[in-house]
């Protein structure tokens, strides 16, 4: 798509300043994808506002001229959510990066949405507080992106995902009006739109500020690593822990391939002979409580005969363990230059069977698949690695991806645990929802955005052809047939 016409660019420049409207071919090119490199679309311009007023002014210009706009945080999203697939502009919020207030008494923080997740934690730490949702990308992704995707993370098993921690937010509606939703407290009067807006992937407008809840940093923490010679045993062990009613702060799974990648990237010395590794963290207010749950956990684990049990002895060791876990996906870059990551959530009792199926699918299509996931939630993350320059491999990768999705949906799983539907999974939506359900969702979207300008074509299958395409499990992958050549 071509650059916007000069007269409109000029209006944007007046709104945000000369330096903060990007329109050269090179500047536009680098915004053609997010963390998901399968999908590409070059925006017509990028606008970088600094304040809510500027966002509102920019959105008003879009509204007047019917220009679609797509919000973007850090562009670490994994479902192509931040792409201007329908043309129009990207409104990148990363310059809105002020932490406005941390209130240690009511344990809340008021932030602009461009604040990076890890920065909020850094600033809250001196007060003994933390912001619980911790996506693996937290050192880079923005709170706005987290809100839009309802991001989860390693510690969300115990503490809940983003929506559980947002008390209020400021939304610039698609006509430029500014709306406050929610409050400073945990209670809301009237209709509660908060839960609707969190997770709406920028399709209802642009979130500019948020009041978030902070929690006291747990004092007593125990982190350990269990290695297994048998993947199925590791999966059964997960189910047993959950069944017993133990809620660890985190319960993560890594397969042998991931362990290898992580060992290379971080020199953490995970047992590389193991078939599967579980990382488990327990926390508690009292040391006695911690000891009791640790004992219970160890007794649940014992029958599954882990080949090794390592306990983090110091805070540094613990930090290193999680750093390695959080860097796992990126560490795959040591093998192949790109990954296609699914994000299904399945009922936990099916973990062992589905994981076995995924491994078989990988072998059948001769593709590398790394499995590292939030085991406690049943949120799988099969990473199919690929080289975009290798067409033959691409075809195998897409086919494998589709079969994995099938396997998950068959056991009653859902499409996305935390990465959102975006453009990448929108074609699959009609697998899960009836046309009536989808029409109702579209109706809600129309209420907020009658002109369909805010991140159009995301989440909901857009064109009538989608419904037909995605039932076909041929190589004509919906991503490609629907939009033509994306790559």
């Amino acid at each position: 798509m071509d650059v916007l016409e000069e007269a409109i660019l000029e209006q944007f420049r007046t709104a945000v300043g000369e330096r903060f409207v990007l329109s050269s071919p090179e500047e536009r090119l680098v915004y053609d994808c997010d963390g998901c490199v399968l999908l590409k679309a070059i925006p017509q311009a990028i606008v970088l506002p600094k304040t809510t007023e500027e966002v509102s002014a920019v959105v008003k210009i879009c509204h007047t001229h019917n220009i679609p706009f797509v919000a973007r945080g850090a562009g670490t999203g994994l479902s192509g959510g931040a792409l201007a697939t329908e043309g129009g502009i990207i409104i990148a919020l990363n310059r809105m990066d002020a932490i406005i207030e941390i209130d240690p008494v009511s344990r809340t923080a008021t932030v602009e949405v461009g604040v990076v997740n890890a920065w909020l934690n850094r600033e809250a730490r001196p007060y003994g507080l933390f912001y619980a949702p911790d996506p693996s990308s937290q050192s880079a992704c923005t709170l706005g992106g987290n809100i839009a995707e309802n991001a989860g993370g390693i510690h969300c098993l115990k503490y809940g995902v983003t929506v559980d921690h947002i008390l209020g937010l400021e939304l610039v509606l698609p006509d430029g009006d500014v709306l406050w939703v929610g409050s400073q407290t945990r209670r809301i009067d009237g209709l509660n739109f908060l839960g609707t807006i969190v997770g709406s992937e920028g399709t209802f407008g642009i979130v500019t500020r948020a009041v978030v809840q902070l929690l006291p940093i747990p004092v007593h923490i125990h982190t350990m690593l269990l290695a297994f010679d048998d993947t199925a045993a590791a999966c059964r062990c997960i189910s047993a822990i959950i069944q017993r009613g133990i809620i660890p702060a985190a319960l993560e799974f890594m397969d042998a391939f991931t362990v290898n990648a992580v060992n290379q990237a971080f020199s953490v010395g995970f047992p590389d002979s193991a078939e599967a590794v579980l990382l488990i963290e327990l926390d508690d207010k009292t040391s006695l409580g911690l000891e009791t749950s640790l004992e219970e956990l160890l007794s649940v684990v014992a029958p599954f005969k882990p080949s090794q049990t390592q306990h983090a002895k110091t805070e540094e060791e613990r930090v290193q363990l999680w750093k390695a876990r959080k860097g796992a996906v990126a560490a795959y870059g040591r093998y192949l230059p790109a990954f296609y990551l699914h994000d299904c959530v399945i009922p936990r009792r099916h973990l062992a069977t589905v994981l076995a199926q995924i491994i078989a699918i990988g072998q059948r299509h001769d593709v590398l698949i790394g499995n590292v996931f939030h085991a406690g939630d049943g949120n799988l993350h099969p990473n199919i690695l690929f080289d975009p320059d290798n067409q033959a491999m691409m075809t195998r990768v897409l086919k494998a991806g589709e079969e994995i999705l099938d396997a998950c949906l068959t056991v009653g799983g859902v499409l996305s645990g935390e990465h959102g539907i975006g453009i990448e999974k929108s074609a699959y939506m009609s697998r899960l929802f009836t046309p009536e359900d989808l029409a109702r969702m579209a109706g809600l979207k129309r209420l907020f955005d009658p002109k369909n300008l805010a991140n159009p074509e995301k989440i909901l299958p857009h064109r009538s052809s989608c419904g037909e395409n995605n039932t076909a499990t041929s190589i004509s992958h919906p991503l490609f047939t629907q939009h033509g050549a994306w790559i």
């Binding site: 963390g35 990308s137 880079a140 990237a265 560490a331 795959y332 870059g333």
Partner: protein, 450 residues
């Protein structure tokens, strides 16, 4: 497993190094230029993406087939690469192990003769002249220093600073804004001088040119502390380390300088080759890469690189002799990018500083952030540089420390200008090289401001 999947295959040539970038974005928030411009094109991920396109265009052109029909052009891409500080903070952050520095410097080298702007050829010529003829002549630098002091004495700089037209000149304006007040003491050091007991381990001290011209006393502090700790220190025959040329992509000049240093310093048979300038140190440490595959120099260069060590790292090799004086003060340590990111020296400097009696080290919130100086970046890109300094400044001022220390002349110059108090209430902060604090603690005088 498949046969076409092989990590080794990927790393064959520098440009396949590009494939290591999986576009995850984990490096974004640590990139100073991205932070202040907000633009993905000024981020590591964006720059790698642009390098990839440049490479595809280049290969397409070479083989006669235009593989890439994209809308971009080299003239459009290169300024974004020129805007990079080369601080390598992104390398530290990248979990995929992308060798960003390799890629950047290789691309700059390949494209150094491509004119980006009308003035580029002239600018390049001036830089080449400086890199190969001014920085390499100690006499010129020393005379330059004296001339500068003379101008300073007669208030020429403060007078120039009042002229709007002078302030708006490229290079001159930013240089005026920096114009450091050069300390008065200058005790020349020249090849042949040696200090300490000949029975100690042999330390060849590399002077660097900026460090020697502006902060010559830092060398004396280095010598004093090393001699206190039983080393034998001498000044070998040497020339500029070539870092500036290397970073600008002027590889021929850089290589020539590196070769001169290699031959003359190794000839003096050192146990250690010590530097107190992070920028020069990282270039010297990487000499082995520059000569990889060279039939004559490969082995020598490897040998050389192994002996190169930053002063603060050398001081952690053996227990320090006890220090006599207490320095009651609060100190912040600014880790120069060329130490923490390029040389991966992270813990040693603070470990040494903590041993100084009486010192209270205050941590920064964002210790990985660059100061915006980056060689001559602050002269070439004054606006971005000033914005980065503003970020850094906030973090430092917040600590209310008495002293800021940093092991790189570029950082010291940048801070001398950037940390000047902006209001009368603001507490002035002294800016020193860490070794100066050690020299004071060993009882030498005159390093601390009155």
């Amino acid at each position: 497993m498949t046969t076409d999947i092989n990590a080794e295959n990927l790393a064959d040539s520098p440009f396949d190094l590009l494939k290591a970038c999986i576009h995850c974005g984990m490096c974004l928030s640590t990139c100073p230029t991205y932070r202040v411009t907000g633009s993905e094109a000024e981020s590591p991920r964006g720059r790698l993406y642009l390098m990839k396109h440049l490479d595809m265009k280049h290969r397409g052109a070479e083989s006669g087939t235009q593989t890439n029909e994209r809308i971009t052009s080299a003239t459009g891409i290169l300024p974004h690469l020129d805007n990079c500080l080369g601080c390598l903070s992104c390398e530290t952050a990248c979990p995929s192990g992308v060798q960003y520095g390799e890629l950047l410097f290789k691309t700059r080298k390949d494209w150094v003769s491509h004119p980006r702007t009308f003035w580029y050829p002239l600018q390049r010529w001036v830089k080449q002249l400086i890199f190969s003829h001014v920085l390499t002549h100690r006499k010129w630098l020393v005379s330059g220093r004296h001339f500068y002091k003379l101008l300073q004495r007669f208030g020429v700089f403060s007078w120039l600073k009042r002229l709007t037209w002078a302030r708006s000149l490229p290079w001159v304006g930013p240089a005026l804004a920096l114009a450091p007040v050069i300390p008065h003491r200058y005790k020349p050091l020249h090849p042949g001088l040696s200090f300490g007991n000949t029975s100690g381990e042999r330390v060849a001290l590399m002077l660097g040119c900026v460090m020697d011209a502006v902060y010559n006393h830092v060398h004396w502090a280095t010598i004093q502390v090393l001699v206190e700790n039983g080393y034998y220190v001498y000044i070998p025959e040497q020339t500029c380390c070539g870092a500036l040329a290397h970073h600008a992509g002027e590889e021929a000049i850089a290589r020539d300088l590196a070769q001169q240093n290699l031959v003359s310093i190794l000839h003096s048979n050192p146990d250690w080759i010590v530097l107190n300038s992070a920028g020069c140190g990282s270039t010297m440490k990487e000499i082995s890469k520059q000569f990889a595959g060279d039939t004559v120099f490969e082995e020598k260069a490897k040998h050389f690189s192994e002996k190169v060590v930053d002063i603060m790292v050398l001081l952690t090799k053996k227990p320090l002799r006890p220090m006599k004086k207490r320095l009651s003060m609060t100190v912040v340590y600014h880790a120069a990018c060329h130490l923490q990111h390029a040389q991966k020296v992270r813990l040693e400097p603070e470990a040494v500083l903590r041993q100084i009696p009486g010192i209270d080290l205050i941590p920064l919130s964002e210790p990985e952030l660059c100061c915006g100086s980056a060689g001559i970046y602050n002269l070439e890109h004054p606006e971005i540089s000033a914005d980065i300094m503003a970020l850094k400044r906030l973090d430092i001022i917040k600590t209310q420390a008495d002293v800021l220390v940093s092991g790189n002349p570029g950082c010291l110059l940048q801070f001398a200008a950037g940390l000047r108090p902006q209001t009368t209430e603001e507490k002035p902060i002294a800016i020193l090289h860490p070794i100066e604090l050690l020299a004071e603690a060993y009882g030498y005088r005159g390093y601390l401001p009155q």
